[in-house]
Subunit: 356 residues, 2 copies
C-alpha cells in the first residue's frame, strides 16, 4: 500500500491549544481524565468528545458496533470530509481509537496523545491499530499511522512511578535492538525516573521509526525484529497475568540466553549484557518485589503443552509449526531465524533446568 | 497512504483452477451459489469457505462481530501470514468481503470474483469497502484494492437479463464521463445484452481505473466525478426503493438537465445527449415497465424537507450545507461544482414543474 508517512512528532511541555485542531475534531479519551480538572477542561474544549474505559475489554469486537454507533451520533454535526480524531490514552485506547480513525468514513486524520510511557515509547508509533476477536488479541486491525503524535511532558511525568516501569521492557528492547548512542545512554542512566525517560524518549522513538520505515506493513520481515522478547513475553503476559513490560523483560532474557547457547552472541557480549547496569535499575525500588517474583524457573517450568497452545495462537506463525524468533548477535544487531516449535520447547526445558 | 496499486485484471471464459490460489485461502461467497452444482463444486475445493446472504443486511455493523468470529474459526487451521481471501458475489458481498480482508490480521490478500454485472463494471474496482452503521450506508470502510479481479464470462452471462439492467446506470455513467471510444461504442450498441456488456466491460473498467488512479483515496477531489448521477440517484434509491442502476440513470438525467440550465452543457450537446440511442436501449423490453414508472415528476415532487433530510446524510458533504455536484460539459468532460443545498432544492423544484 505504498510508503509509510512518518507522523510529525511534537515534544512539548504542556497541552497545546485545542483550537489548532479545527472545528471538526472528535477526541476519544480515557475517561480517567474526567477526574483531572485541567485535563477535563482541555478535553471539553473539543467540538465532540467520546469517553472510553481503557483496558483490553475496550478492544472487544463484540462491543465495537455500540462504540461506532455512539461515535457516529456524536460526530453527526461535524463535517465528515474534514473530520479528525484525536486519541488521548494509553495502549488500549490508542489501538481502539486508531482503528476507529482508520475505518470511520473510510479513514479520517488521526492524532495521538499517548498518556502512558508505554504508549509514548512504543504503541502510538508505527501505525498498528487493533481489536480482539473471541478473546484473541489483535486479530483484526489496520496499518494506519497518525499524522501527528504529541508527547506532552506534563502529562507523561504526572504518571505514578509504577506505571513508568511498564515501559521499561520496550525501552530496553529498543536499546538492545538499536545499539549505539541509545544503548550507551540507557546504560549510563542513574535511575529510570521520569526525567531520564523524557530524555531517552526521542532516541527510542527515532530508533523505532528507523525500523518501521523499512517495513511499515510487515511485508518484508524487517519489522519483525520489533518482536524481540515478545514470543515468550506474550506467553508470560497471558499465562501469568504479568504486566507487559515485565513479561517482555523476561522474554528478552530468554532470547539472550538462547542467543548465547546458539553461539550467535559471543561469550564476551553475553557477559557484558548480563552485567549491564540497566537490568538492576529497571527493577529498582518499588518494583523490585515484582521482579523478585519473576523466577524464571516458575515461568519456564510449565508443561510443554501449555507453551504449545500459546505458540499455535501466535499470529506470527509463518507455517503451521514454525515462527520467526528474534535473536541478538550484539547490541544493535538482531537477527530473525525461523525455528520449529519443538526447538522452542526444548530450549524452554533447557533453560528451566538451568535456572533450577 | 501512497500510490494505488491497480489489481491484475483477468477476463476469462470459465472459472480458473482453485489450485492457483494456494493452500491458505478462504472463499467468502454468496450462498446462492450453493444451489448451482458447478459453482458449488468449485467453491468446495477451497481450503476454507464462508457463505453469506447478499444484501445490505450483510453490511450491518451489528452483525459484523458474529461474522468475524465465524471467519476466525474457519481459518484457524490456515497460515495467517499467507492467508488470502477470495470474494465471490455482487456489490454487497464485495463491500463486506473487501472490508473483512482489509482488517483481518491487519489486512490479507484480496481477490474479487464479481458475480453481477454491476460488480464487474463498478464496485469490484477501485478499492472501496464498506459497512453500514445505524442504517446509514457505508459509514465505515477502507480503501483496500484487490490484488486480482477475475471477470468470468460464463458466470456473468449466466445472470438473468433483468440483473444486467442494474449495471446500465454505471455503464452509461462511465460512457458519459469517459467520452471517446467508450461513448461512441455505447451509442452504437444494438442492444444491451450479455454479449454487448461483455464486449464493453474492459473499456468501462479501464475508464474507471483512469479516474481512480488519479485519486485513489478521494483526497484530491478528482475521484469525485464518479459520483455523477449519484447525488439524486442515492435519494431516489433510498426513498423510492428503486434499483441502483435505475436510480442512477434518473440522477444522471437530473444532472444533464441542470448542466444545460447552468449553460455548462451547450444546447447542441444537450440535444445530442437527449436523443442518444442508449437511453431507449437501456430501458428496452422487460425493463421498460420499470422505466415508465420513473416519472420524474413523481421522483421530484416530494416535499423539500424530504430531500433536505437525505442531503444532510450525504457523506460527500463538504461543509454543513454544501456538496460537490457533478455536472457534464460534454461527454468526456465532467466538472464538479460546490453547490448549496438550497440550490439543489430550487433545481428540483424547477425540474419538477418542468416535467409536470
Amino acid at each position: 500500500m505504498g510508503p509509510f508517512r512518518q507522523p510529525k512528532l511534537y515534544y512539548v511541555n504542556n497541552w497545546p491549544s485545542v483550537k489548532i485542531f479545527g472545528d471538526d475534531t472528535l477526541i476519544i479519551y480515557d475517561r480517567i481524565f474526567d477526574q483531572i480538572p485541567s485535563a477535563r477542561a482541555w478535553i471539553r474544549a473539543f467540538p465532540a468528545c467520546y469517553a472510553v474505559k481503557s483496558g483490553e475489554n475496550l478492544k472487544d469486537i463484540d462491543l465495537f458496533p455500540g462504540h461506532i454507533k455512539a461515535i457516529e451520533r456524536v460526530t453527526r454535526k461535524l463535517s465528515s470530509r474534514k473530520l479528525k480524531i484525536v486519541v488521548l490514552g494509553g495502549g488500549s485506547v490508542g489501538d481502539f481509537g486508531g482503528f476507529v480513525a482508520s475505518v470511520f468514513k473510510r479513514g479520517v486524520e488521526l492524532i495521538h496523545f499517548p498518556s502512558t510511557w508505554l504508549a509514548a515509547f512504543d504503541s502510538s508509533h508505527g501505525g498498528k491499530t487493533a481489536l480482539n476477536v473471541s478473546g484473541v488479541k489483535n486479530q483484526i486491525g489496520t496499518f494506519y499511522p497518525a499524522t501527528q503524535v504529541y508527547m506532552v511532558k506534563s502529562l507523561l511525568t504526572s504518571q505514578p512511578p509504577e506505571r513508568s516501569f511498564e515501559a521499561l521492557g520496550e525501552l530496553i528492547k529498543m536499546g538492545l535492538l538499536a545499539g549505539g548512542d541509545l544503548y550507551s545512554k540507557m546504560n549510563r542512566v542513574s535511575a529510570f525516573n521520569s526525567k531520564a525517560l523524557w530524555r531517552l524518549l526521542p532516541l527510542v522513538v527515532r530508533a523505532k521509526y528507523r525500523i518501521v520505515n523499512k517495513d511499515p506493513r510487515e511485508q518484508t520481515g524487517e519489522r519483525q525484529v520489533l518482536n524481540f522478547g515478545h514470543t515468550l513475553g506474550h506467553i508470560f503476559e497471558a499465562h501469568f497475568a504479568l504486566p507487559h513490560g515485565v513479561a517482555v523483560l523476561a522474554g528478552i532474557q530468554f532470547s539472550l540466553e538462547w542467543s548465547y547457547q546458539r553461539q550467535l552472541l559471543s561469550q564476551k557480549e553475553y557477559l557484558n549484557l548480563m552485567r549491564a547496569k540497566f537490568w538492576k535499575k529497571a527493577v529498582d525500588k518499588k518494583m523490585s518485589s515484582t521482579w523478585k517474583h519473576l523466577n524464571m524457573l516458575a515461568l519456564l517450568g510449565e508443561a510443554p503443552r501449555t507453551y504449545m497452545g500459546y505458540l499455535q495462537q501466535d499470529k506470527k506463525k509463518s507455517g503451521v509449526r514454525m515462527l520467526g524468533f528474534v535473536f541478538l548477535k550484539k547490541p544493535g544487531a538482531p537477527t530473525v531465524i525461523n525455528v520449529d516449535f519443538k526447538e522452542i520447547l526444548a530450549e524452554i526445558s533447557r533453560q528451566s533446568s538451568f535456572w533450577g
